[in-house]
Each structure stands twice: as C-alpha cells, then as structure tokens.
C-alpha cells in the first residue's frame, strides 16, 4: 500500500510539473476536392514560462492534443508574422471518398467530446452539450441554445434529434448548429474561453528551430521541391 501511495504521489508530481499547452483561436479549413482538412492553432500558449524544447512541442503531438487523434499527415509550428507568436498547423485527410466533413476531423476539431449529427436538406445539423462554442467565423451557422437543462429528459429537441434521443449520451445545456453540405471549401474559426487559458503565456521557442516540421511535413516539403524542379 505504501508503494502504491508513493507511485500516486510521484505520478501526481510529474503531472503537475509537465507544462500544459493551449491555443487562443482554432481555425478549420476544409477542401472537399481532396478531403483535406487544415487545422490551425493560432497563438500557442504554455502554462510555464521559459523556452520550450523541440521534444516538448512535437507538432503532431500538439495536433492530437488540441484537435484529437486525426489522420494527420503533416504538421508544423511556425512564427506567425502578423502576431509575432508561435502558431500550429495540422494537415489531415478525412476519407477522401465520402466528402463528408462530419467524419470527425472537421467538427471534432472544433468541439471535442460526444455530439450527434444529422444530414437534412443539404445541411449537417449538429447537437452538442456542455460549454458553448464561441464562433468567430462570419458564416451563418444558425448556432443556438436549444435547451439549457442538464438532463436530456427535461428537454425537447427538434424532430430530427428526437429520433436520435437514444444516442444523446451527454449532458446539457444543449446547442445546435447547421453547416451547409456539398461546399468545395468551408472555413470555421472559434475562440477558446479566456478563462480556460488563465495564467498561460505565449509559447517561447528558440527561433532557430522554427519552422518546426513533423517528419511527414518535411517529407512532403521535400517532395514539393522535387516537383518544382522537375522538367
């Protein structure tokens, strides 16, 4: 028992000491022609001050942390000229044959956790629960609070989601939004709640290691260079 307690204390200590990372804004761009999703974490923040090492902030690792485990084929951390801060870019492919950006990558990258979606009238309707997503995009997503109760049993949803009631296994308040389907290009931007980033500071990296590219990104960049030089 003593050994177990010691282990718990050590693990607790490690978890407290490890830096946490956050992003101020997240942007998702979807290119239907290739099923390509580009996720950008604008202004990467760290819970600890000081210069982070390249190992601490491996781009693919940050992509998974911020956007979930996607089929990321390339990622990089770069210095954003407009803000002077470090930003993250993650490039992912969703199954290219389905042309459906609700396949986890797009919506999942904006809002982690369970959600329910229905396609109706050339629109993807998404129902999610918990903290409200703060959208910065100008797109009219018809984003609204549909029920402020915590329990679904106290809520009545639109018919399309009443039919999905058994799949709603998450707590309220409940929000709904609608995204047009069949668009060659679609872009969304959201703002992280500043309260969740209290005490975080802009991530500092040795400028000589930037842009910091994942192995997949580096491979593709080299491939691009070979294409440009091809006769």
């Amino acid at each position: 028992m003593k050994k177990f307690s010691l282990l718990v204390v050590i693990l607790l200590f490690i978890s407290c000491a490890a830096p946490q990372y956050g992003i101020e804004r997240r942007k998702a761009d979807y290119f239907d022609e290739w099923g390509l999703v580009r996720l950008t974490g604008l202004n990467v923040l760290s819970s600890v001050s000081g210069v982070a090492s390249a190992e601490d902030v491996a781009p693919e690792k940050l992509c998974a942390e911020f956007f979930g485990y996607l089929n990321v084929y390339g990622a990089r951390l770069y210095l954003d000229d407009s803000t002077g801060n470090v930003s993250l870019e993650c490039l992912a492919l969703i199954v290219p044959i389905k042309s459906s950006f609700t396949e986890g990558a797009f919506i999942g990258s904006m809002k982690r956790g369970p959600k329910v979606w229905v396609k109706e009238d050339s629109l993807y309707h998404i129902l999610y629960g918990g903290k409200e997503i703060k959208f910065l995009s100008e797109e009219n997503l018809h984003h609204r609070l549909v029920c402020q109760e915590k329990e679904k049993d106290s809520c009545h949803f639109e018919n399309r989601f009443e039919r999905e009631r058994d799949n709603i296994d998450f707590k309220g308040p409940y929000y709904e939004l609608s995204i047009p389907a069949n668009r060659p290009f679609f872009s969304l931007m959201t703002l992280t709640d500043p309260k969740d980033l209290k005490g975080y500071k802009p991530l500092k990296l040795d400028p000589s290691i930037l842009p910091l590219e994942s192995p997949g990104y580096k491979k593709l960049r080299e491939y691009e260079e070979s294409l440009a030089n091809r006769k």
Binding site: Y73, G74, V95, P96, A181, L227
Partner: protein, 217 residues
C-alpha cells in the same frame, strides 16, 4: 479468465475488421453508394478536364480512368468495342495541393485558362488485343475503393496521396465509380482482394509510361 479470453479474441480479430473497412468487397452497395454521391471526389476531375478539353470528353459510354502521379493528371477513356484509348493530360503544375491548397488552386486556374494548349495535350493510342482483353477483365468498378486506411502505419507515405487511380464506368447515363490509392506491398501475404488493385496499377502505370505529350507543359 473468461474476460481475458474475450479481450484476446477482440484483440486478435481487430485487424481483420480494420482491413475489411478499407477496401470494398464485390458489389458492396454501402461503399459504392458513398462513392456515387452527388459530390463524389471524381466529379472535381470531371470539371477540370471538361474545363480544359470541353464537355464532349465525357459524352460517350466507356471506362474513364483518372491517373495521378507526381502532380501530373491524366485521363484515359477506354472503349469496350474498340482498342483505341483517348488520352488527355492536364498541363504540369509542378506542385501538389497537400501543403498549400489555395496556391495550388490559384495556379491551376491560371494554367487551365490557357486553352489554346489543349490540342497538344490529347492523343489517341491503341492497345494490343491481349492488353485490351485484360483491362476489361479487371472490372475496376467492381472494386469500388482502396483507401489509405488499408495501409498500415509502417508503410504509409504521405506522397502516396498523389498516386491514385480513380474514375467510373459510364453506361447508359449511369456512372459506377472507383477510387484506389497506391500502396506498397510490404506485407508478406496480402489478402487476395488486393490483387485486383495491384493489377490495375500495373496496367495503368505500364500504359502511362508509354505516353509522351510533346508540347504539353
């Protein structure tokens, strides 16, 4: 013990499920349905080739195969009743969409606007009768898709995204689509289903190697 048995069974069976979800079984209605949606990926290629060569390219029945490799896009139109193959090539862009899609689209729009070059980017070739017969025996449209999900992590190379065969069989106004991504056969024993994809790539690559479009840069 029973829990352990269930766990081991699931663990052993899991790869089989993963494999099964990445390539299509013959006549698999679910996958074919997802491919033939109004917004299927090949529709973009139809628009591109129509924009450069005119819509008449897709007017007849036949097997339409888009082949993409190293940023170069070609279209082969096979006719079951004759051994002639109409071939088309879009001008080389010297880039791929994977790192900077906006720049790729902009560059492509500029290049495709110069339609006077189209004549040098099309030609008709002829197959020998054995190749013609072998091609029609492949039935690409019966093997609807092979995606990069089929390829295990150790042999996944992002450059493969740019190495694909896609297209459709057009008959009496309906289109049966297919989409194959190139894979490297590192596995000792691949499921038999992969044979159709390997043969398709061998045949199209062989054909592709023989064609040169002089003046289509």
């Amino acid at each position: 013990m029973r829990a352990l048995y269930i766990f081991v069974t699931i663990f052993v069976a899991l790869p089989a499920f993963v494999k099964a979800s990445c390539f299509s079984e013959q006549n698999d209605e679910v996958f074919v349905q997802s491919l033939s949606g109004s917004h299927a990926i090949f529709e973009y290629r139809v628009k591109l080739f129509s924009a450069f060569f005119g819509e008449s390219v897709f007017g007849e029945d036949g097997l339409f195969v888009f082949y993409e490799k190293n940023g170069l896009q070609r279209l082969f139109v096979f006719d079951q009743n004759q051994n002639s193959v109409k071939t088309y090539q879009l001008p080389r862009l010297k880039m791929s969409p994977w790192l900077n899609p906006e720049m790729y689209i902009e560059k492509r729009n500029t290049v495709l606007a110069r339609k006077e070059r189209a004549e040098s980017c099309r030609q008709t070739i002829f197959l020998d009768s054995a190749t013609h017969a072998n091609l029609w025996q492949l039935r690409m449209e019966k093997h609807a898709f092979l995606s990069n999900r089929c390829i295990t992590q150790k042999n996944l190379d992002p450059r493969q995204f740019n190495h694909v065969i896609m297209g459709f069989m057009q008959q009496h106004g309906s289109r049966k689509p297919f989409y194959f991504i190139k894979f490297e056969n590192y596995e000792k024993k691949m499921p038999e289903m992969f044979e159709a994809y390997t043969k398709s790539f061998d045949m199209i690559e062989n054909l592709d190697d023989k064609i040169v479009f002089e003046g289509c840069q």
